[in-house]
């Protein structure tokens, strides 16, 4: 996080705000709600309180304007610059302006007013932009389905105003660090020749032609998917990706969700209803056999016959010696299986049933 240079802050933490005008894009009540919720995010984690006033000058004046609106920072029409806000101070200090040339929404369509307002009010309180892509104070617009302060945002506002009076200090989600030695994954899969790693709300991908590891919200590609996926695999010859969470799974071709999803894993694959969720899954491109790993056991499903093979479940230890129990994730590349257990990654040869190497989970990120 970054505090605004000069560390401007409100001396009195009981602040007032006023919505000077309303966008025609949304019902007034929705605008009121979005702004109120945005203030609530910040008051929940700090000593700050916000009271709405309906006339006169408030500390934070909120308005919808377009083009040059005489604050020396003209807007630029649709897209690009969505909104801005001024650091704490008298007069225009703290005020937030939203570009009326944008379409303001209360859902995942661009641009979600609640999401943008939560960011702008961070500026009104003394925060600048954060380099943490998972933070609300990240400069670029990303709507990941839910609007929540990350730990980075909370640490920032508390650096200015101190902790919340709440006896239980609120915390927020942390963004994975690709070169963190302790990095583990929820799921890993190939996707059209690439390898994608999943953790909490994020995906990570590394490729040979760009040195930096790409990390972004899963919702950038698949807005319908929940956070905290548990397993994922690719059926290469059908160009299909399947994501698993709990007893549901979703199927996509590229970014397009296939019709009728999510579906139930018990009905679709014949996995016993005693299984509440899948730990990891991989489909062997050479045999069309898909392996579902659950605790110490695994099932094998035939993608061609579209039925579970007989004689399963079996113990993982019997057919994948050395892999042990509770697999976090697994994917196949060049005929080998890569198993992820915590921070460890095993390269396994399914033909010889031998472990060929042991690496750090994030070894693909060339740290």
């Amino acid at each position: 996080f970054v505090l605004t240079p000069g560390n401007p802050q409100w001396k009195d933490t009981n602040l007032t705000y006023r919505i000077e005008n309303y966008t025609p894009d949304l019902p007034r009540a929705d605008v009121d709600h979005a702004i109120e919720n945005a203030f609530q995010l910040w008051s929940n984690v700090s000593p700050l309180t916000f009271t709405k006033v309906f006339e006169g000058q408030a500390d934070i004046m909120i308005s919808f304007v377009r083009g040059d609106h005489h604050d020396n920072s003209p807007f630029d029409g649709p897209g690009g610059n969505l909104a801005h806000a001024f650091q704490p101070g008298p007069g225009i200090g703290g005020d937030a302006h939203f570009d009326e040339d944008e379409r303001w929404t209360n859902n995942y369509l661009e641009y979600n007013l609640y999401r943008v307002a939560a960011h702008e009010l961070g500026h009104s309180l003394g925060l600048s932009h954060s380099t943490d892509i998972g933070a609300l104070m990240y400069p670029n617009y990303i709507f990941s389905g839910d609007v929540q302060l990350s730990q980075d945002d909370i640490s920032g506002i508390q650096a200015i105003y101190g902790p919340s009076p709440n006896p239980i200090q609120p915390t927020g989600p942390q963004t994975p660090q690709t070169c963190d030695n302790k990095l583990t994954f929820d799921a890993v899969t190939t996707i059209r020749g690439e390898v994608m790693f999943f953790k909490d709300r994020f995906y990570m991908r590394a490729n040979s032609f760009y040195p930096e590891v790409e990390l972004n919200f899963i919702s950038v590609f698949w807005p319908h998917l929940p956070n905290g996926l548990q397993a994922a695999y690719e059926v290469v010859d059908r160009d299909e990706i399947r994501f698993f969470k709990g007893n549901k799974y979703w199927a996509f071709q590229g970014m397009k969700m296939l019709h009728g999803y999510p579906k139930n894993i018990h009905r679709s694959f014949g996995i016993p209803t005693t299984v509440k969720s899948i730990d990891a899954a991989v489909s062997d491109e050479n045999t069309g056999k898909t392996y579902f790993f659950v605790a110490k056991k695994y099932w094998r499903y035939d993608e061609y016959k579209q039925s579970m093979d007989a004689g399963y479940p079996k113990m993982i230890a019997d057919d994948f010696p050395g892999i042990g129990n509770k697999v976090d994730a697994v994917f196949q590349k060049d005929g080998f299986f890569y198993f992820f257990l915590g921070t460890r990654q095993y390269k396994f040869d399914p033909k010889t049933k031998r472990i060929l190497s042991l690496q750090k989970a994030n070894s693909w990120f060339k740290c």
Partner: protein, 84 residues
């Protein structure tokens, strides 16, 4: 490269103008009104590009590569990323 239309000089110029405007708006590049082509590899522009690439975790090349241009085209907050 045959799969992508080679960037026309016009596209290139548009991109260069976008880069300049972006760096003026968000990275405190002083706009001296000079034509863009004389500035493309000037010290300040390269420096500000590196600052932006660093901020967004991109490869720090000082050049407006595809990743950098894509990032600049994303909708965003109008408040600068660096102190004015």
């Amino acid at each position: 490269s045959h799969s992508f239309p080679a960037a026309t000089s016009e596209t290139q110029e548009q991109d260069e103008e976008m880069v300049q405007k972006y760096l003026e708006n968000y990275y405190n590049l002083k706009s001296d009104g000079k034509q863009i082509e004389r500035r493309r590899n000037s010290g300040p522009v390269v420096e500000k590009l590196k600052q932006m690439q660093e901020f967004f975790g991109l490869e720090v090349t000082g050049k407006p590569d595809a990743e950098t241009l894509n990032k600049m085209k994303e909708p965003r907050c109008g408040v600068p990323d660096v102190a004015q």
